[in-house]
Subunit: 347 residues, 2 copies
């Protein structure tokens, strides 16, 4: 097994390419080396290449040229998600590892094709879902899956992010005219799904209402859902991108043997059968098992990608799971429209 | 205006009659005097009368005889709610004040008749909803109604109560074979509605899932709902009577100008436009306006009943509001059955 750095080609040199560059640095030069980049606008690609030290000869305007660069081991796709499928097909065909941004695709048809492709691929096909790499969240998931609070009866989730008219994300054209369903909602809520599904298990069906409070948002910016889990539990999840200033995620899960509370991805509280607060050491000790070598967020996902490529380890999130995340948003938006409960589509 | 004690006749001398007796004592002998009681079982009525000091001559087996006792000013009805309508009609006809237990009735048809009756009655017709008399909850409601957090965008509510097989309530026949819809759910959730509606405003429609985890419960014991408010906001509310041991109510309301968090009926937190925690004095100062003379729970509702009878003050909850509370449960249960969003019925 090679211990050489994975030679990365970045496709799409926008806002998030800089974030990825910092994360590659943090994970370490012995694991990753940025060797190529591509952007429709040559100027932007050249500027990025200069900043991060990519050779001029490996700056492309056509992503297919980057994929076919023999120096590139793995492709890091940072394009609007409607382009994911085409690029993944090309990368797998060229025998390159690939990672790409969440949501997995702009629609469930493409998402389904990507899942099938990832199952057949000889290379690693990884959706970049940074929320799957919070060690404490992974530890809570493992604890609950081991029966730490008994059977899940129900749960309450509140995910609130502030409305910020000055966010650079508002300015991006693909966000102003999104091809993926729900705009901000799918963009943001798949993160929440990555937070929830490992802990709660898969979702069976959803009923939802939505509202919109800020004209700058192209779609509804607040989604309130009630959910039936595949394991029989029922619960609620609330997603708003419209608070005045509060930013918070709070998950409470009631089980037959206890209750667990997770706030953001940093704080956890555990209550026993008598409702008493008890020591969380049995949970935090599981953090060591989380993918990403103890790193969280984008750093964790890149570290896990390295382990998947070099050692065949499992990623923190599979493309099947990423399909499920998108299937939830699609079902919730359909429920808003039809005012009926909607079953989630399966791969 | 008389300042004499209101002379009370209690109909139904079960578990809650003792609770009411203690509350009457707490509010004070100068306001209330227990002068009569009625129970189908003469023995139970006599035992209760002895315990609380009611004269033997005012112990009845027929509630109509108690209503027509000229010594009785007000009737306190502690019967299974399917009897509310008949007793209220008789009391109003006899020109007696009356209070009766929540939910307002066993079905919306009776509930509607009770509302119409209460609007025409010359006497006070009061639903006993003790959760409408928590001074801090009333203060939060007033603060939010005054625009303290701007327009309501959305809310998350988690109401969790433990499963307790030894609860005396499980043994009561009318709970084992309830004539009101949803058994525990309507019994319990109308309390939650009394907590929520003053703060959030009326509910327009609901979509819900339910599950049942304990065979002792005759109906589903966990209800997860998503809600559209009449004011345009959307949110979620979770109700379970099935936790291992945790007992908690948590309400978070996100508005355009801030966020408010209310835990149980005792703790409140306020966040401003920047998401910073701020002083809650503007809220707690409103506690003085709450009905019930500063008393909470059953004591508060009895104190408010006194003020309504003697001074014409408004009660903490009207029969129209109590109708709305029941209409929510009825709509939620219909949504569970039909898997469609359901609009709440209006009086």
């Amino acid at each position: 097994m090679s211990s050489q750095p994975i030679r990365i080609g970045i496709i799409g040199t926008g806002i998030f390419a800089h974030r990825h560059n910092r994360a590659y640095q943090a994970v370490g030069n012995e694991k990753f080396q940025l060797v190529a980049c591509a952007n429709r606008s040559k100027d932007k690609a050249v500027a990025f290449a200069k900043e991060v030290g990519i050779d001029d000869s490996a700056v492309y305007t056509n992503p297919m040229d980057l994929i076919n660069d023999p120096n590139v081991d793995a492709v890091d796709v940072l394009l609007p998600v409607q382009f994911n499928r085409e690029i993944i097909e090309a990368a797998v065909a060229a025998n390159k590892h690939i990672m790409f941004e969440k949501p997995i695709a702009a629609n469930l048809k493409d998402a389904r094709e990507i899942v099938l492709l990832s199952q057949k691929a000889k290379t690693v096909v990884a959706v970049n879902e940074n929320w799957s790499y919070h060690p404490l969240v992974c530890a809570v998931a493992e604890f609950v899956n081991q029966g730490g609070i008994g059977e899940i009866i129900n749960f309450t989730y509140d995910s609130a992010r502030p409305y910020s008219p000055n966010s650079p994300y508002h300015a991006t054209k693909w966000r102003q005219n999104p091809e993926h369903p729900g705009g901000y909602l799918s963009d943001g809520c798949v993160h929440d799904m990555a937070h929830l599904v490992p802990i709660l298990g898969k979702f069976a069906s959803v009923a939802a209402f939505a509202t919109k409070r800020h004209a700058i948002h192209v779609c509804e910016d607040t989604l309130a859902t009630t959910i039936k889990l595949e394991n029989g539990g029922v619960g609620v999840a609330n997603f708003t991108f419209s608070t005045a200033g509060v930013k918070k995620m709070s998950l409470v899960v009631h089980g037959t043997k206890g209750t667990i509370e997770l706030t953001d991805d940093t704080d956890v509280k555990l209550f026993n059968e008598l409702g008493e607060s008890v020591d969380i050491a049995p949970i935090t000790s599981l953090k060591a098992n989380a993918p990403g070598n103890g790193l969280a967020d984008v750093e964790g996902e890149l570290a896990a990608f390295y382990d998947a490529v070099r050692s065949g380890k499992k990623l923190g999130v599979s493309s099947e799971e990423a399909f499920h995340h998108l299937a939830f948003i699609v079902a919730a938006l359909k429920s808003v429209e039809t005012e009926q409960a909607v079953k989630l589509e399966q791969v």
